[in-house]
Amino acid sequence: MDLFSKVMGRQTSSSKSIAKERLRLVLVHDRSSISPQLLNDLKEDMLKVISSYMEIDMAGTEVTLSQDEKSVALVANIPVIKLNRVQCGR
């Protein structure tokens, strides 16, 4: 495989399926009242809550809406750096 087609990333998926995926995602946002800004606020609030339970990688965290056939899911990918030790009563 020559370098050019590698750079273009053509082997893995057809441009049609990329288009479909991108379209689905953009429509999830368009159709709901969830703006990227709102999603970001939600992410920050979530991180605040979660970080009082465990040490997480704030920069590596991703919060997105995703859609498969019929349902929409809120997907959060939050890398955990360290789980806090068990403390009394917890």
Partner: protein
């Protein structure tokens, strides 16, 4: 009482005017009384696509402002005497007409004509609101590109909010070879994502350019793929059942696409 059908899309340049001209001419060719209304005020085009640009005296704004009678502004087509055009004003702006006036106008037109086809401007502002105000049905045109489909989705939402329910979809400028190579979204992808009923599929066709050059809609060209697609769409609008896909699967996707387009029927 006739039916008012608005041809809309959100995005510009996807083929609303081409579709309006071809559906209108196609419906007239099979014996219906049709009037085409160009609501793209300031960017009039339907007249050129139909080859009627030299006959314009009055326009839509003249009618709604009472500068002339409705009959005086209707331009008779060269080919079919049961086909008329009400041209858009070229020098006014979109706010020169209001939705209430469009409703009234459409009401009058559908007493006279079997089909009132409204060519909608791009966008979701005043021009769009005017175009849909008097409509009974909506046809959404898109091309197989993300931006066009996205705008179509937005339009479908706005049509629903305006109580124009169950719009139908025309996918324009499909290129079978690109679909086959996985480089263009196919019809099923789009109707799936938009959750809308398909009215027809129109292929990319050089004959559209040629026919626009001549001012003769491709629907009258028996050798044009796109023309064939528009003939089928016109029939479907009249309620005739022209199948979209034949169940007998033929040689691969190209054969199937030809069937979708209504060839080999």
């Amino acid at each position: 009482m006739g039916q008012v059908i608005v041809i809309t899309s959100g995005k510009g340049g996807v083929g609303k005017t081409t579709t309006s001209a071809n559906i209108g001419t196609g419906l007239a060719a099979i014996g219906n009384k049709v009037v085409l209304v160009d609501t793209d005020i300031g960017l009039r085009n339907l007249d050129v696509v139909l080859g009627l640009e030299n006959r314009i005296v009055y326009d839509l704004v003249d009618v709604t402002h009472g500068n002339c009678r409705l009959k005086q502004a209707l331009i008779k087509d060269k080919r079919f005497e049961n086909l008329c055009l009400l041209p858009a004003a070229q020098t006014k702006d979109k706010s020169a007409v209001e939705p209430e006036q469009m409703k009234e106008l459409c009401g009058k037109l559908k007493e006279e004509f079997d089909y009132v086809i409204i060519d909608c401007p791009a966008g979701i502002e005043m021009g769009f609101k005017n175009a849909i105000a008097g409509a009974d049905k909506a046809v959404v045109v898109t091309t197989p590109e993300i931006s066009a489909v996205r705008d179509a989705d937005r339009i479908i939402g706005l049509l629903e909010a305006a109580e124009l329910r169950n719009p139908t979809l025309i996918v324009n400028r499909i290129r079978p070879r690109m679909v086959k190579n996985g480089d263009m979204m196919d019809i099923n992808d789009m109707i799936d994502i938009l959750a809308i009923e398909l009215l027809g599929v129109v292929p990319e066709d050089e004959k559209i350019v040629i026919s626009t050059n001549r001012g003769e809609p491709a629907v009258l060209d028996m050798n044009s793929w796109a023309g064939q697609a528009y003939r089928n769409i016109a029939k479907r609008i009249t309620g005739e059942n022209v199948p979209l896909v034949s169940l007998e699967v033929e040689d691969g996707l190209l054969g199937k696409l030809k069937r979708i387009l209504g060839f080999n029927n």
